[in-house]
């Protein structure tokens, strides 16, 4: 059997890579995808602990996380389409009309 | 060597099964194209391929050779990685879905090991969900193919086709929920086992309680596999050739094989979930129906021999009687060896029903006109999805009523 620590360390690494992608990338869609990567890392931790403790609560919560991620993706991509239409660019640094 | 074989027996059995099934599926695909061209041609009062071999039977071979030797051009400015990935993805996913389907109930006992007909283990608890997962990933092959060709018509065709596939995927999965509620399991073997009946076998099949579910599933499956009447994204007169316009030779053949393989998979699913899979429609007491495979194969083999002797070309006069003799010998084997006969009953019924569904697919290709794209999307969202949801609601009510007031 694979120890649960291994899964949680993998989840931490993926979460860290998601954070790095969020900070480093400049395309709005890629930034949004890094949020999905972070959510996936958290799902992995949930399922790992669900298996370790022998309860199914973690897996039920993973289902809810996936549903919320779907809703968020739908609305977020709608906003991204509007930004692309209004600013004619997908570079997040061009969305700066509220800057001083 | 023998210890290596015996210690890794499962692995070697699986590898042999995979190789065999791959070969069989690809051959069936090739001859399905021949079958389609012949049947559509005869429906249109013409002959179809009849020159390349006897009755055109070597036409798939000629097509394969043509695909291998055609010039393989890549459009300028295409994204190379995605352009090569798309047909690979489509084909790999379509062929993987065949691995989950069980082809017979009983295992073969060989060298002390039980070999089940079908690659996935028989206790795969998420059988149908795994099939839907592979179907869900199949959208990528088409979307990426359309986009990576760097050209207008493929992009439009790819976008339309992927939008169509994800819309009808919802109705596809919803229409199966009724069957799952009745069977209580995702396992394909359990679903078939749930359809047995003590009287005539046909009354236990899921088609009778789930007629609406079957209609929704069949229509959604045709839309999923991009066949007529839902094949606007790849229609010749509309969008040049849709998402596979810029694909030449072997990559186009990969898309082709993927489409026909998903057709075979969907026919398998229809028979397993709604028509009893490998169960016979006759009562179990009618043991004389066990001779039905032989009763079909023997006369057919004799007819092939008789037709081959009178054929025009010399090549046909040699090949057709040989094929006919093989078929007759197979029919004779089933009469002479009773345990082979009982073993072959399950696969015989399954394969016959799959063949009937494939014929219905081809029949629709020869008969129906295609939907316009907005009619297609309106039909999927406004008619089919509510119908499948109504099916789920009615099925749940009936199950609850049976639990509450039915026989204890």
């Amino acid at each position: 059997m694979v120890p649960t620590n291994y899964y949680v360390i993998l989840s931490a690494i993926l979460f860290g890579l998601g954070v790095f992608a969020f900070v480093f990338k400049r395309n709005i869609i890629t930034i949004f995808m890094s949020i999905e990567l972070m959510l996936n890392a958290v799902n992995l931790a949930f399922v790992a602990f669900s298996q370790a403790l022998g309860k199914l609560d973690g897996q039920v919560f993973v289902l809810f996380v996936i549903v919320v991620a779907a809703a968020e993706a739908a609305v977020g991509l709608g906003i991204i389409i509007l930004i692309a239409r209004n600013r004619q660019s997908l570079n997040v640094e061009r969305v700066d009309l509220l800057k001083l | 060597m023998s210890t290596f074989l015996s210690s890794n027996a499962e692995l070697i059995i699986s590898l042999v099964k995979i190789a065999l099934l791959l070969f069989i599926v690809l051959t069936v695909n090739a001859y399905l194209t021949w079958f389609e061209r012949k049947v559509v041609a005869h429906m249109q009062s013409r002959w179809g391929p009849h020159r390349v071999g006897p009755h055109g039977l070597l036409q798939p071979l000629a097509d394969g050779v043509k695909f291998l030797f055609k010039e393989d051009s890549t459009p300028a400015g295409a994204d190379k990685f995605v352009y090569y990935l798309a047909p690979l993805l489509a084909l790999a996913l379509a062929l993987t879905s065949i691995a989950i389907i069980p082809f017979g109930p009983d295992p073969i006992h060989l060298f002390g090991h039980d070999i089940y007909l079908g690659i996935a283990p028989p206790d795969l608890n998420i059988g149908i969900l795994a099939l839907f997962a592979i179907t869900a990933l199949g959208v990528y092959g088409i979307a990426l193919a359309g986009w990576s060709s760097n050209s207008k018509y493929p992009l439009l065709g790819g976008l339309r086709s992927s939008a169509q596939m994800i819309s009808y995927e919802l109705s596809l999965t919803m229409s199966v929920v009724g069957v799952l509620l009745i069977a209580g399991s995702f396992n394909l073997k359990d679903i078939i086992a749930n359809q047995t009946s003590t009287k005539w076998g046909i009354f236990g099949w899921n088609i009778f309680p789930q007629l609406l579910g079957f209609i929704c599933f069949f229509i959604a499956a045709i839309a999923e596999t991009n066949r007529v009447p839902f094949d606007l994204p790849e229609a010749e007169s509309e969008l040049v050739a849709g998402f596979h316009t810029e694909y030449a030779s072997f990559k186009f053949a990969m898309f082709f094989i993927a489409e026909y393989t998903s057709m075979i998979t969907v026919s398998c699913l229809c028979t397993i979930m709604f028509f009893g899979g490998w169960l016979s429609p006759f009562p179990a007491s009618w043991t004389f129906t066990h001779y039905l495979p032989s009763a079909i194969l023997l006369p057919f083999g004799l007819w092939v021999i008789w037709d081959g002797i009178r054929y025009e070309t010399i090549f046909g006069r040699i090949i057709l009687p040989a094929v006919g003799t093989a078929i007759t010998a197979l029919g004779a084997v089933f009469i002479l060896f009773p345990d082979v006969n009982t073993f072959i009953q399950g696969p015989f019924w399954l394969l016959s029903k799959i063949f009937i569904f494939l014929f219905i697919y081809v029949w629709m290709r020869g008969t129906l006109p295609r939907f316009r794209y907005d009619q297609l999307m309106a039909f999927g969202w406004k008619l089919l999805l509510p119908a499948s949801i109504v099916n789920v609601i009615i099925t749940s009510f009936v199950i609850l009523a049976k639990m509450q007031w039915g026989p204890k």
Binding site: M1, K25, V67 | -
Partner: protein
């Protein structure tokens, strides 16, 4: 080196390579494909842990529907290769430090924990799907209804946001 451990390392390497590829690729569609690879690898890990229903839902919903949405939007908006200004290259350095600090802190805390949470043996009494459906429709039925409402709100929001103005 037991078989589950080997499978774990292969899938974990695949997931990490996919995440690194997400960061490294210049074109958003390649990043999307890398993210799909990560999700499929994670579904394999869920299967390894015995959570078969969650693995199937991950592939059907997450990589088969949500990522399709991403890919279609990237195609629709014709996203090109992304441009990096000097500010973004400067932000890479603190980003890298942040990541190493975060991941390193979590990993070190876990590695140092003396009582390793050993995986409990699968009881096998309640299969994954039956158990999950029992929990969702009995203990968690209220959040379940709320999520259906949430999806309805999301659908309406997406429709309103993406429609063209009637000029």
């Amino acid at each position: 080196m037991t078989a589950p451990l080997v499978v774990f390392f292969v899938l974990a390497a695949l997931a990490i390579l996919g995440a690194l590829s997400l960061i490294w690729q210049k074109h958003p569609i390649h990043s999307a494909l890398s993210l799909i690879v990560v999700m499929v690898a994670l579904a394999g890990l869920y299967l390894l842990m015995g959570a078969e229903f969650v693995a199937a839902v991950q592939i059907i919903v997450y990589s088969g529907a949500i990522m399709v949405l991403f890919v279609l939007v990237i195609m629709l908006l014709n996203a090109g290769i992304e441009e990096h200004t000097s500010i973004s290259k400067l932000a890479g350095v603190p980003g890298l430090l942040l990541v190493i600090a975060l991941a390193g802190f979590i990993a070190a805390t876990i590695a140092r924990s003396s009582e390793t949470v050993q995986a409990a043996m699968q009881t096998g009494a309640i299969s994954s799907t039956k158990g999950i459906s029992n929990m969702v429709f009995r203990d968690f039925v209220y959040p379940f209804e709320l999520t259906s409402f949430l999806i309805l709100v999301a659908i309406m929001g997406a429709l309103v946001l993406a429609q063209r103005e009637k000029s």
